[in-house]
Each structure stands twice: as structure tokens, then as C-alpha cells.
């Protein structure tokens, strides 16, 4: 133990003689078989997903990336804290990797946890160009387990990503099968009255959104570790073991609700940072997020890992079993969630006062808040509820608009993880007042499939300029009807869940429709960085910014060169 510490300390002082590892990745055309269809894609070392890279905290890594494609490529190390030139975003960190070229990334590993890597060029990532990263900590972890598996999710679409983008641009509801029908309109009339129903529809029309836009890309096959539901990726265990599952959502567009019927899950890490353990029955994983959970199957039986898309249009499925070939029942898809009027609470010009007769209590039978009254409090008579934490199983979540149709509920009626439950296991930064606030309105026009920040898309926008050493409070105001997983490169996103110094530290923060979410960032990384919605087609449409950090501890100041070339995401 002492020896390791000494080695670690030396490694920090003299990187040249510290732990050093060399890794090789090739970027290749690959074939992806989902079990439903076979498609050409992009992978690493001949496969999609690519390998799991295992690093050790304190290590100095060299990663040789050879581009075997006939187009430019790049690799972004999602969630890793590193010098900006190594961050892998063409046009911001470096020019990109030319066909036939080998580029060597070199950076120190200064953190631990579960992360992933992916291409930041064109649509290579949704085409399969991603893999996982596991970083072992220098010291012991604040939990124990007997074995571990990466569970990497994706949403594989039969259409090429270029074609999907074209279709969305021409017909934004091209992949939206869940639109309201005339029949539903008339059933709305009988339930809510003609005037209210018409007003509701008019309001939705004003927003240029289709009422069922929970997911704008449907028709995909959910995959886990490269296997479709029929191919059933299986992780082996011995009953009684604690298993650490490292969930990574590498989807282009899909949020998944994850559960393992028959098993309680203890969430111990989010986005690579340890959180105070929280027992849940189900959790929602946003695009680009990671969650590590510990499960302990005690019985000699198979368990299904079931990841249902947020809009209930598709699923990924895998199995934990004592032996290969065993399986457990696969649940059916639940009723699709429907957005409610509450989900457009953030829309500008939406004055609810103009809608007489709008009774929020009428907003559909699936109105989540109504279910609060069904909670059984009989066991808690005489209790003072004023100091209660989030009620277990109650379908309310401060990170969703009040009355939102998106509030998740656990399939078994149990506990569904909320951002509000996430508390840092150990604060990473000292708490201090932010030096300033920056408001970022998440904006879009669904009818033209344009996505932007503050109404301006990337190519027309100025960079966001931050000063080294400041602590910035970002205020996200979601004025669209879609959930946006916002990812800031290079610096941590301290999500404000109201827990002060225990606020969790993330790399990707989901902002639900009609909500305002705050996060703070210690501006401690000089250079220029990408900041964007991680939904592939939103990023490509312009929901993206360059962040320039001015100043720095030494000469590592940002190069002011504006462009190296075309930025990632096909913009």
C-alpha cells in the first residue's frame, strides 16, 4: 500500500517515470447485427462497441488511434479531465485524424470511475463508434463487489444517420408514430370538453410540436454490449455475489428506463463520480450518462436487465444468470408516456392565463401528480411530514415540470431514482458562491427541426467566454418539449439538487421540458471546449456552443484560432 502511494506521488511529480500505458485503437468499417437487421457501421478494433479501455488513476496514457476509414475521424474521451488538445473535438481541440493517419493521444489519468469514448466526427458515433472506459482508483473504493460488467446501451436504427437527419429536416415527425389521432382528439373532447381540447391542440400547434414528441427517433433496436434483445447478452454470476453493473448510455437519441425485475439496485456512482448509495427499483439513464449499480442476486435463477425507452417505443434486453443460456421473462412495454400541458410550461408566450377553463387537474388520466393521493400514509399516523425526504414510490420529481407526463414511475411501484436523490459521496470541490450566472435557454423549432441555444444555432453563435478560476452558475431553461442531455467538455458539471456541498458532480445534465435546472462549474481547465446537447441530431442541428476559457495558471492559454476545420456532429 505504502509503495503504491509513493509510486503515485512520484508519478505526479515526474510523469515520465510514473505509471505509463500504451493502447492501440483502429477505427474500422464494421458490420453490426442487431438480430433484427444487419447494417454497416463504424467500430474500434474491428467491432462495435469497441473495447473496454482499463486505466489506472495516476497513469500517463498514450493511445494510438489509426484511422482506417476513408473520411476524417476523432475520439472524444467522454467525461475525462484532460488538456483540451487531447479532448478530440475536431474544430475545437484539434483538426481531426485524417484517413490512414495514426494520431497519438497523451494525457494523465487524474480520476476514476466508469466513462466512455466516442467519435466526435460527423455521424460516426450513432453509426457505432464508441467504447467504454474503466478507471481504477488509486485508493480503495467506498463499496465492494465480487464481479463487474459494463452494460453499454445503444439505439440502433436501420436507416443510416445521414438519412435519419435528412428525414427529420424534411419531415420532423417522420419517426414519430405516437401522434394523437382524430379518435384521441374526440375522446379528449368527451373528457375535457370541446373548447379545452381545441385550445390544447391550438397551443401545441403554436409551439410547432407534436403532442407525443417524447422521442423524435423511433423504430430503433435497443442493444446492450452489441447484442439485440434476441441475441441476449448474458452476464454470469454465482448466487450471493455482489455484482457491479456499469451502465453507459451510448445512444444517439434514446433515454432508457432500466430495471432488473426481482433485484434491488444500489446506485453507487453517476457519471464516474461516487454518490452516496441509494437503493432503487428503476432508474432513467439519459443519453451519454453513466450509472454504476450494485446488485446481489441470491437465487440460482436468471434475471432480465430490461431497458425500456422513455417513449416506450423500443427496448434493450440482457440477462444475468448463473449459466449461459438461461433466461427470465421479458416484460412488455408499458403505455407510452404522453407530454402534458405542464411540459410546455417553459414555452415563451405561453400564457396560461389566456386559457380560461384550463384546469390542471384535468390533464389526462396519466397525470402523475394525481397519484400522490394514493400513497398509503396509514402506517405513518402521527408523523410529522414536514421533514420528510422524497416519498418513496411517489410519482413526483422536482426535476420534471409539475404535472409532467414524463415523470417516471417504477414498474413495480417501488423507488424510481431522481436527480434529487444524487448526493456526492465525497465533495470534489469546496463549496463557494458562484462568481456569475449564465442563462442558456434551450430552444428549437420542431417544425423545421432546428435546435439551438438562446435561439441561435452553433454556426451563427459567438463562443461562451469563461475566465480561469471563476465558478460559473449555468441556468438551463428548457423552452422546448424535449429532454436535452447537456454535456460540457473538460470541466465538471456540479448539478444543483439543493444539497449544498453534497451536490453531485456530473458530465451530462438532463434538462426536462418546461423546467429550469442549475449547475455550477469550477472553471479550472484552460483552453477551448465543446458544450452541447448530446442527442446526436440536436447537436448536428446546432444545439452546440464553443466555450473558451481565458487565462490560466501558466502558458496553457487558449489558442485564439477560431477554426481548425469542420466541427463534430455534421454541423
Amino acid at each position: 500500500m505504502k509503495k503504491t502511494l509513493v509510486a503515485g506521488a512520484l508519478g505526479l511529480l515526474l510523469p515520465a517515470i510514473g505509471l505509463a500505458g500504451e493502447y492501440n485503437l483502429t477505427v474500422d468499417r464494421v458490420e453490426i447485427d442487431t438480430g433484427e437487421f444487419v447494417k454497416e457501421g463504424v467500430g474500434y478494433n474491428g467491432k462495435s462497441p469497441g473495447p473496454t479501455l482499463r486505466f489506472k488513476e495516476g497513469e500517463e496514457v498514450s493511445i494510438n488511434v489509426t484511422n482506417n476509414l476513408d473520411e476524417m475521424t476523432s475520439i472524444h474521451w467522454h467525461g475525462l479531465i484532460l488538456p483540451f488538445e487531447q479532448d478530440g473535438v475536431p474544430g475545437i481541440s484539434f483538426p481531426g485524424i485524417k484517413p490512414g493517419e495514426t494520431f497519438t493521444y497523451k494525457f494523465p489519468i487524474t480520476q476514476s470511475g466508469t466513462y466512455w469514448f466516442h467519435s466526435h466526427s460527423g455521424f460516426q458515433e450513432p453509426e457505432g463508434a464508441f467504447g467504454s472506459i474503466i478507471i481504477e482508483p488509486e485508493g480503495r473504493e467506498p463499496f465492494r463487489y465480487d464481479r463487474e460488467y459494463v452494460v453499454q446501451l445503444t439505439d440502433k436504427h436501420p436507416h443510416s444517420s445521414e438519412r435519419v437527419m435528412r428525414n427529420l429536416k424534411v419531415t420532423p415527425d417522420y419517426y414519430n408514430r405516437e401522434q394523437q389521432t382524430v379518435g384521441e382528439f374526440f375522446s379528449g373532447v368527451s373528457e375535457n370538453g370541446f373548447l379545452n381540447t381545441v385550445k390544447d391542440r391550438l397551443a401545441w400547434g403554436d409551439m410547432r410540436m407534436m403532442k407525443a414528441d417524447v422521442e423524435d427517433l423511433q423504430g430503433f433496436t435497443g442493444m446492450i454490449n452489441g447484442k439485440g434483445p434476441k441475441q441476449n447478452w448474458t452476464g454470469i454470476f454465482e448466487p450471493g455475489e455482489r455484482i457491479r453493473l456499469r451502465f453507459i448510455n451510448s445512444s444517439a437519441m434514446t433515454y432508457f428506463d432500466v430495471r432488473i425485475p426481482g433485484l434491488n439496485m444500489t446506485v453507487v456512482q453517476a457519471d464516474g463520480n461516487n454518490v452516496q448509495p441509494i437503493n432503487v427499483d428503476e432508474f432513467r439513464i439519459g443519453v451519454a450518462e453513466t450509472y454504476d449499480v450494485i446488485v446481489r442476486p441470491k437465487d440460482e435463477q436468471a434475471y432480465t436487465i430490461f431497458a425500456e425507452s422513455m417513449g416506450r417505443t423500443g427496448y434493450a434486453r440482457a440477462t444475468l444468470a448463473p449459466e449461459e443460456g438461461m433466461d427470465a421473462p421479458v416484460p412488455g412495454l408499458r403505455e407510452p408516456a404522453r407530454l402534458t400541458m405542464a411540459d410546455m410550461g417553459g414555452m415563451p408566450g405561453m400564457d396560461h392565463g389566456d386559457m380560461p377553463g384550463m384546469d390542471h387537474g384535468d390533464m389526462g388520466g396519466e397525470n402523475a401528480m394525481a397519484d400522490m393521493s394514493e400513497m398509503d400514509h396509514s402506517q405513518m399516523s402521527g408523523m410529522d411530514h414536514s421533514s420528510m425526504q422524497m416519498p418513496e414510490g411517489g410519482a413526483s420529481d422536482p426535476f420534471y415540470a409539475k404535472g409532467s407526463g414524463l415523470v417516471p414511475k417504477a414498474a413495480n411501484g417501488g423507488k424510481f431514482l431522481s436527480y434529487a436523490d444524487l448526493k456526492a459521496q465525497k465533495p470534489l470541490y469546496e463549496e463557494r458562491e458562484p462568481t456569475r450566472e449564465i442563462e442558456l435557454r434551450l430552444t428549437g423549432n420542431m417544425e423545421r427541426y432546428t435546435w439551438s441555444i438562446n435561439g441561435v444555432k452553433y454556426e451563427d453563435a459567438d463562443a461562451i467566454r469563461l475566465k480561469y478560476g471563476e465558478r460559473v452558475r449555468f441556468k438551463f431553461v428548457n423552452e422546448t418539449m424535449m429532454t436535452h442531455p447537456m454535456h460540457l467538455h473538460g470541466m465538471w458539471s456540479i448539478l444543483d439538487v439543493g444539497a449544498g456541498q453534497w451536490n453531485p458532480v456530473k458530465h451530462t445534465v438532463s434538462v426536462q421540458p418546461g423546467t429550469t435546472v442549475y449547475m455550477e462549474t469550477e472553471v479550472d481547465a484552460p483552453g477551448q471546449w465543446a458544450f452541447h446537447c448530446h442527442l446526436t441530431y440536436h447537436m448536428a442541428a446546432g444545439m452546440f456552443r464553443k466555450v473558451i476559457v481565458e487565462g490560466g495558471p501558466d502558458s496553457t492559454q487558449a489558442a485564439s484560432s477560431e477554426q481548425f476545420g469542420n466541427v463534430g456532429g455534421g454541423v
Binding site: 480503495r140 467506498p142 463499496f143 465492494r144 463487489y145 455482489r242 434491488n264 444500489t266 446506485v267 453507487v268 452516496q276 448509495p277 441509494i278 437503493n279 450494485i294 446481489r296 405513518m380 399516523s381 402521527g382 408523523m383 410529522d384 421533514s387 420528510m388 425526504q389 416519498p391 418513496e392 448526493k423 459521496q425 465525497k426 444539497a499 453534497w502
Partner: protein
Amino acid sequence: MSLAKFAVAAVAMSVSLTALGAGTHGGGHGHSAKSGEPGKASDASRSVTVEMYDNYYEPEAIEVKPGETVRFVVQNKGQLVHEFNIGTPDMHEAHQKEMMMMVEHGVIQGGKLNHDMMEMDMGNGQSMKHDDPNSVLLEPGESQEVVWTFSEKGNIEFACNVPGHYEAGMYGEVNFN
């Protein structure tokens, strides 16, 4: 409370705990369900210091002889509330439900215990006092003793049943030899 009265109360507690353990065990291994009983400090053959961190123990295993009385000096060196509880896995599982209630009602709040809330009458003569003799629940920086007489060989663990902690691996083995 006199020492004698305390002992009687403590024994009564341990009886109920034992019954609970045996009841949920399904009679599978018979004798293994009992974890022992509160001991007298004067009978303790030795003292073992157990340090609680976020979220693990040091040490993570201890060796005892059947019938041995051990004085545990339990120190919370972490930043969160932790428990030291001696019992069978089934007893821990049952206790985890009670601890969940303590979190839901704001008794355990990260690094703090709400002592007023613990005293409150919850109806049916129940409270959330957490005063069983086989365990201590400590705030960061606190230290307390547990004197325990191990009865016989069995599947005994010391564990922290603060929600999520045991599940994440905050337990230690009691090995009999």
C-alpha cells in the same frame, strides 16, 4: 436505570431479535440464526477497535471464539452517519427496512441524526430510537462501545444498515475459530 434493569431490558431485546432472526430463516440451518447476546464489559476478553469510513469498515473481518465476549470500540471516521450492528444477514435485512423509514422521516440526514425525531412516538408504542444493544448508530466523529457475547458458530456479520450501505458492501465478517 440500574445496571440490573438495563441487563433485563437488554436480554429482552436480544430475545426479540433472536426470534426475528430465527423466524425469517426458515429453519434451514437451525443454530446459525443466533448472533449472541449483550455482554458485560467486565467479561470482555479483549477490546477491538472498529473504524467506520464512507462506506466501509476497518477491519472488514474479525476472529472470535464461540462464547467470547468482545468489547467493540466503534468510531465513525467518515462524513456520513454509519451503524455498527452485529447480526445474521436476515436480521440485517429486516433492520434495513426500519432504517429506510428513518431516512424517509428525516431521522438520518447524510451526516446528521435528528435526535428529537428518534424519540417521537410513532403509535403502537414504537419509536425510531435505535437503542438495540447489538448496534450503535453514530454521527461523524462519534465513538461508542458495544459489548457483545458471541454465542456459538454461525453466519454473523457486522453491518451498516443505513440504506444502501450494506448493499454497497459495508459489512464485515465474524469468523469463529
